[in-house]
Symmetry: C2
């Protein structure tokens, strides 16, 4: 088979590529684990990040946890994301934008490794229930409970029978009690159950084939099942087994599966919980989760994802997902001038979007193709993106230096910026203060109110021919690069542009002077230029 | 003495710090030199850049040049800039904002090293005139002539007798003929000479004490002399000697001095010339420069600066200068809430400005202190900055990821952005097409015209209390950092914030839950949270 047999095989592959570090020292999951891993998101360049495998983990009381903890192993950077997906980095968007073209349903097996240990009924808590595993605290000092971060939460639509897999956060409130910060599809399943008066069965799978985690974290239309999309992406069916306490299925090779129900008669107040924009969110209402059964592999590897303030593993994951999603949206609208869509970690993978165009530069302003694309990007959601910037093909949309070179040189604010109101606030703290009662944060209360959410569109494409980029021409830079290597100077990671290019405005006279000079006739070029000088009369204007 | 005796001693110091590389291989100054050095600005991180000393240089015909060429040695990055200034990096702004508080005039000597060789009169061209030195081409393929990039051009005000030193670009048009792309003060000296009917004597000094290059590249008020500012900055007088053909003085230790005159009866058409926004600028009118005498040290070291498309040595130099200049401006206006002013290379050191405030966060919007400061920054010049962004103290204004995290989380476009028109275009190509006749690029021709320059001000400071940053609290991160070191993980370069902080909104209930959990009473915290849950009735709204 082409893809990884299971999460463990993926970790082996990660280690082979030098991107996994085993930590043999005992680590306290409640005080040390996340702070340690988070340092790499605050102190290492993206390309230098790696995954951690904690071999010996204890809880805050020094009690050893069963098995190991793998943290930051799926998407510490885009190279790791691609490894988890099983394709080269530059194929990621192509894969995502065709994700729905081929669906492969999961293959059902009678049993699998996840059934090696089964705790249910009277002995459900014999091994500690949820406390058996190394579930870490995420944002120490601001959160009060361990956080399940890489939960693939599986539920079934009571009407259609279709399975949903979503990646939701959950905090552990007891050996058999957690909550679940849900959204979208699971929420609709729950509402249907509530109308029927029955609780919603759910299974939380941890340590699944990484492609399923990636699919679970993205926006898949309600009409398709994530299992089928994940299978299609890797070209083979995900092996699944049936749950012990419901008719749900879970990946057969899952490290841990927590089966339970989501009650319909209570809602939990969430504990203080960090969110991906970068704040600790106080007091939201979330679903309760009651544990009925736990199955797991022997020596389970608990899978943990680093989320919250960007950059994080979660923001890398969601950047790639947002890019694939918006690329597909623009294609569906037939906008063929879009070359790339880039989302940025600093915008929490949703709020800062750069669209790279081809074949629009130099067309006189206003270019309705550009504006149509920018407004279409805004249609992806009421709450995001907040800022969308259009750039030309010669700009690297993932490099903010390149983007803001274009912004300072190719746009005029009064002409090329549009601000739109009527946007949804989401978790944007800038929309209004939290301590104003009456829901003022949600939507503008009046046209002159300072509250309410808005968005900015900015066209930083070239509007007409420009003079050449002031870097040496490509042939000179290529020769100099050979010289650079020959001199054994430090390794280069070239940024675009790395050579000058004509951008449409290059007067014949300038070209001729350069050609004369390059032909070894510099004196002739100088004489010609000097003949073009201007004689000034006594006191007249000279310019 | 504290400061470097001369340019050579500075290069020795640079080499001692590991920031100078000697290139022993023969290099063609007309085809290879700039492309080679420019690679480091396209392919190395700023902190990894270094200076080059080319020991063997030929021209395009293979003819060896006299002496060596030092390129990119003064400001390849801010550390080198600080070394050239003779102070730590974090003192640069303080130095600049007090630059005018202490002035030390130059000290005049009868002779100095720059007089070791004197070529004038009949034997002016005996050693080739300007062709004697390794003056490189800057933007091969788009420029036709060698470019003098580190010229400290000295002239005297015919009225006041005050000396001016400015760093201007110049291209070599013959053994005794160049031009000069001037601005500001030199231009006024020339106009005064023209009114009197006499040419303006000028001396171009190359390879001067680096502090003088830095001062020559910044905006010093017309009423003070750059020599005196440079002396004050380093705490000692710059040694000078008199010119051979005029009453001008030049640094006694200059590597090369080109004495000449600027005629008042002709203007040159500039050859195609790269500029610092990043384009090759066609056809401007510039001054002529006629060489009368050349003096130089034995085995002269030609000093070359890497300019044009940012980032470049020139953009690093001008960023620091712009920051000092605008900081002093804001102080002069009594705006005490400004902590830092940051300019960015990608905005060519002028066009993208970030102001970091203290003591403004959480004050309800609109904060007139912030807006007063942003508008005051705009008053620095009619043409720059183009974009100015205000951020809080917890944001790193030099890190675009940090700035755009603030922009996506702390501003609402409709409320916090102001666009102003009536700005000057400068060299901004986005203001209008070059091929429209009639000066349409310079200024808006009508209120509805797409032409004309504008600027954007953006307040990305917090307007009210926000929830805490979702990173572990400082004590956890500090402990984890010790763990990181103990585990010998890769070296960290921490970004801010590297730990969670309260931003004013942290409800008592959340704090208590966390305190209980940290005291080892997690079960109690969970019980308390669960008691706060909400019981739902049959079909009612639950949120």
């Amino acid at each position: 088979m082409g893809y990884y047999a299971d999460f463990r095989e993926y970790l082996d592959r990660l280690e082979e590529t030098g991107r996994l570090r085993r930590i043999a020292r005992t680590v306290d999951k409640d005080r040390e684990l996340h702070p340690l891993v988070k340092w790499q998101y605050r102190g290492l360049a993206e390309e230098d990040r790696f995954g951690f495998l904690f071999e010996r983990v204890t809880d805050g009381n020094g009690r050893p946890c069963n098995g190991q903890v793998a943290s930051s192993v799926v998407a510490a950077n885009r190279e790791m994301y691609a490894l988890a997906m099983g394709c080269p980095v530059d194929e990621l968007h192509e894969r995502w934008s065709h994700a729905l073209d081929r669906l492969i349903p999961p293959e059902r097996f009678a049993t699998g490794p996840v059934k090696e240990e089964v705790h249910r009924g009277d002995v459900l808590l014999e091994h500690g229930g949820l406390h058996e595993f190394g579930i870490p605290f995420a944002t120490n000092g601001w959160e009060a409970f361990p956080r399940v971060t890489a939960a693939s939460c599986i539920t079934r639509d009571p009407d259609s029978g279709r399975l949903n897999v979503g990646m939701y956060n959950s905090i552990v409130l007891g050996a058999d009690r957690a909550n679940l910060r849900t959204a979208r599809h699971l929420r609709r399943h729950w509402e249907k159950c509530r109308a029927r008066g029955v609780p919603l069965p759910a299974a939380i799978a941890v340590g699944v084939p990484p492609v399923l985690s990636l699919v679970a974290a993205t926006n898949v239309p309600q009409t398709v099942a994530e299992f089928d999309v994940a299978g299609g992406l890797i070209g083979e069916a995900i092996p699944v087994v049936e749950c012990e306490t419901s008719d749900l299925v879970v990946p057969a090779t899952s490290e841990v599966v927590i089966e339970g129900t989501i009650p319909i008669d209570i809602m939990d107040l969430d504990g203080p919980s960090g969110e991906n924009r970068g704040h600790v969110m106080p007091g939201h209402w979330v679903h309760a989760f009651e544990v009925k059964c736990i199955t797991h592999r022997r020596d389970p590897i608990w899978h943990d994802v680093i989320c919250q303030l960007p950059p994080s593993e979660s923001s890398v994951m969601r950047c790639v997902n947002s890019e694939g999603h918006v690329t597909a949206l623009l294609r569906a609208h037939g906008i063929s001038q879009v070359k790339d869509v880039a989302f940025h970690d600093c915008g929490s993978a949703k709020n800062l979007c750069v669209v790279r165009f081809h074949d629009v530069a130099g067309v006189r302003t206003p270019n309705s193709k550009v504006w149509h694309a920018l407004f279409t990007v805004m249609s992806v959601d009421a709450a995001w993106p907040k800022i969308v910037i259009g750039v030309d093909e010669d700009i690297d949309p993932w490099d903010l230096d390149s983007v803001f070179w274009a912004v300072t040189n190719r746009h005029q604010p009064h002409r090329d910026v549009k601000i739109i109101q009527g946007r949804s606030a989401g978790l944007d703290e800038s929309v209004g203060p939290r301590d104003v009662p009456g829901g003022i944060r949600g939507y503008p209360t009046s046209l002159v109110s300072p509250q309410g959410a808005s968005a900015m569109l900015l066209d930083a494409t070239r509007k007409w021919p420009n003079p050449p980029i002031s870097l040496p021409r490509r042939d000179y830079m290529e020769h100099a690069r050979e010289l650079w290597e020959e001199l054994e100077l430090p390794p280069l990671k070239p940024k675009v542009p790395w050579h000058g290019v004509s951008l449409g405005h290059w007067p014949e006279n300038e070209a001729e002077l350069v050609a004369l000079s390059e032909a070894g006739r510099m004196d002739e070029a100088a004489a010609r230029l000097l003949r073009m000088g201007r004689h000034l009369d006594g006191n007249g204007d000279e310019d």
